[in-house]
Amino acid sequence: MTPPETAAVRVEGLTKIYDESRSGRAVLGDVNATFFTGQFSVLLGRSGSGKSTLLNLISGIDLPTRGEIWIGDVNVTRLSERERTLLRRRDIGFVFQFFNLIPTLTAGENVSLPLELGGMIEKQARKRAETLLDRVSLANRMDDYPDRLSGGEQQRVAIARALAHQPSLILADEPTGNLDEETGQTVLTLLLELVRESGKTMIMATHSLEIVPYADHVFRMTEGQLVEERRHRMERRVM
């Protein structure tokens, strides 16, 4: 019997207006969506359609103009700045298009960063980083700085960092957008494998239709609106 689906993330009436002029520009307009626990959802849309803004709002690094965001039973929009930061530290892992590794930290230190920020002692954090880097086949690059790694390697380190603190939610913003096709495919496969394996929820913003077959849910975004919702069951193709 299939367990009942529970909502990992729920957004209700979400609107984001950037006050660039007096009239303001609505990047998101009254968006409603539910992202289920353990599932891989894709936000599909062109540049400027509002995908990244939606991810930023869900993670609490930006606040909506109107509407509510629920992660589990926590209303993110009601949290203080510090509470939102701690929520990210505890429950959210980020994978960015441009990897965003900290250049002054080694690959290992980048992975252990969220753990150490959360108070874990260095030795333990390093051990966990070692395990994760091994998992992404970069155990031998533990002490290398980002500028010594290739783009694909950097993104694998970023994936390990996103998973280091065992968050329940992974937010990925065009994770393959800055990689060549082959490397992108490898990175995507690895990311999905790790996410599936640990039963985490992942929301990925992308403009690439090639990712769609791997998704449980696909949300199409156009001009700040969720205009279409399709459900896929193609995960077996990658698992």
């Binding site: 930023n56 510090r82 930061t85 530290r89 965003n100 230190e109 252990s112 960092r161």
Partner: protein, 853 residues
Amino acid sequence: MSLSLFKLGQRYLLRRPLQSILVVLGIALGVAVVIAIDLANGSASRAFSLSTEAISGRATHQIVGGPNGVPQEIYGQLRRELGLREVAPIVSDYVTVRELGDQPVRLLGIDPFSEAPFRSYLGSADDEPLSLEALTAFLAQPNTIFLSREVAEQNGLESGNTLTLGIGPREVTATIAGLLDPSNELSRRALDSLLLADISTAQELLQRDTLSNIDLILPEGEAGTAEVERIASILPEGVRVEQPATRTATIQQLSAAFELNLTALSLLALVVGMFLIYNTVTFSVVQRRPVLGTLRALGVTREEIFALILGEAAVMGVVGALFGMGLGIVLGRGVVGLVTQTINDLYFVVNVAGVDVAPTTLLKGSLIGILSALLAAAVPAWEAASVEPVTALRRSAIESRVMGLLPKLSLAGAGLGLVGLVLLAVSTRSVVVSFLGLFAVIIAFALLTPWVTVLFMRLAESPLARLGVLGRMAPRDIVRALSRTSVAIAALMVAVSVIIGVSVMIGSFRNTVTEWLETTLQADIYISPPNIAANRSTAPMERAIAEQVASFEGVERISWARDVTVASPEFGRVQLVAVSEEVSGRQRPFKWVEGSQEAAWERAQLEGAVFVSEPFAFRHEIGQGDSVTLYTDMGERSFPVVGVYYDYSSDQGVVLMPDALYRTLYDDPYLSSVAAFVTEGTDPDALVGQLRTFFAGEQALVIRSNVGLRASVLEVFERAFAITGALQLLATIVAFIGVLSALMAMQLERARELGTLRATGMTQRQLWGLTMLETGLMGSTAGLWAMPTGLALALVLIYVINRRSFGWTLQLHLEPSALVEAFAVALVAALLAGIYPAVRMSRIRISEAIRSE
């Protein structure tokens, strides 16, 4: 440069207002300090020239005498025997006026009937004539004076009021017979610090029967020379003809070294400001790398790119210089008081009514500011123009270049340091060359800063790693942005090293003076009339006062001194001090003495030899085996020098001779000061009290115990260095702006990194911690590196600059607290500079930052 490039530059500056404002502020402060010091020096100097020129009037020559002046019979002889008509007798001295806030003013005694060809205080044809009543009172009534209407109005005085004049140990009253209001600007300014009296009134007030000088108007050329010879033939020994301009120039030269030292110190603030400009321009170049690359790709030439960057720096330089001018004038008004106080204390009397805003000073200061901006911007501008568009100055490219340049940079630093040392070691008396050497040494240390920063950060990494990931990140962040951080650290380091260098120099100076006072001042009580100058007792005192002191119960014996200015054919004006005995009890420290001290004193007394102070020997390059020639009342006399002693009371130097010898050479009945040795068991402080009571009401004497005199000497000392403290503070403020600007630039450059950290779960507090850790490390590096730099600076100041400027030998005295304080200044300045960037960083819009380039 094309209009579009011009617009590009203009918009960039406007888009980064805070960065532009900080640079403008840095330049403005640097320019302001240079202008302020120049204005203060210039105002003091011009005020002195104007007052002396105005007093000399149209006199081409002056007849001057020894300490006791010119016998007044000579005036009659000149008129009667030589038939000269343009001759005016003058009696003049400085007095203090209670009603004018006890400021020293010159009492000028004139003969109104001889005055017309020389000066126009009493009114020219254009002026409203003085009333007959006022003129009659001026000529006929005793103790009447004329005062400037402007001064009278400023002090709420009017005709008929009484003034209390302090003349040496006496206080006398004088009545204002009338107020002078000449239309001539020169006369008006001269009158700001002048009391005019009839010559006989002045003689009565000053209790003298001689003249200070006789002014002459002689024809130019051969006729004038012949006239001078004719006059000289009737003059007695010790009286001679001089040109007033020479005399003024000689006096003004006294404070030249002091003013040069101030100017050099003021330039330091500008040097610190140059680091700030360099940093900001580099940042602007790096930040616009895609734009510059695109421009190059579109066909903009290297020269145009160079001109664009330099043009922006020039705009900031011009704006900074304009603000600097205004600020400099305001600052100058504050500083002029400190400068004139020191000149009055140590060199000569000058009253500066206000700051004289000389256009040349403003122009000079502004040009220095703009040129500094262009010079500092030249390197980044050249970099922007010379790098290929593709690689156009990525921050990482610059950083790797800086890391690659480190050995060369450090070698250049070492090389420049050597050049500096050679300049300092070279046998020259030029203070300017010495300062060039000093600046070279400072820049050398600054060039070594990147290497030192990397070294310190590597050393700090291990202990800081215990603080966790933030502790590991901070030193690496500093090394990663080395081209920026090291420049900010260098700026702060230079400012702090100046604090250390100057503090150690002042501390050493203070310590040397204290020790010198302890050995030299052996008497228990010192008595002198109030004096205008703080470092000399020149006001005449009746010998009877010494006898009264000697007869006091508890006084074992007394000694006295006479301090006068005499003329020397070889050395110009010379401070001559005649002493009745060696007041130090043979403890006076000598740099060199012929035989023993006793033998030298014996020779001085028996054979008419003299001692000279160290600055005198240095200034005039004399020593063992040399002699000093002076004009005496008995004619020109030469005295062998039998010793060179340490003395810190005057940088012009002193000739010391036995009193007995002085009295045989000069017709001078007065003393300048008396020193009393008390009998065993007598309390000097109690005796000071008794002496004060005894002389109260009769003589305004300054009676001080040994301790009191030392304290007042040190008070003058502290006053003389007050201005250096202000200059240090300003240099530190400029460095603070440099660190602030560097941190803000770093913040902009690291936006994505900071955004990622925040997205990954770094709290605002942790980000604050990281920023503070980084600024703390930068401040600590600057503070630590400033210690050897500051000590090197102190050694140069003590052993080279002071010596070549003033001729003093100072003993190095190092107070560890000076180093600790300077380190604290560096750390606190850096931490304070970190606050605003930290606030901004913690408020960063994460969503924008993580996507920014």
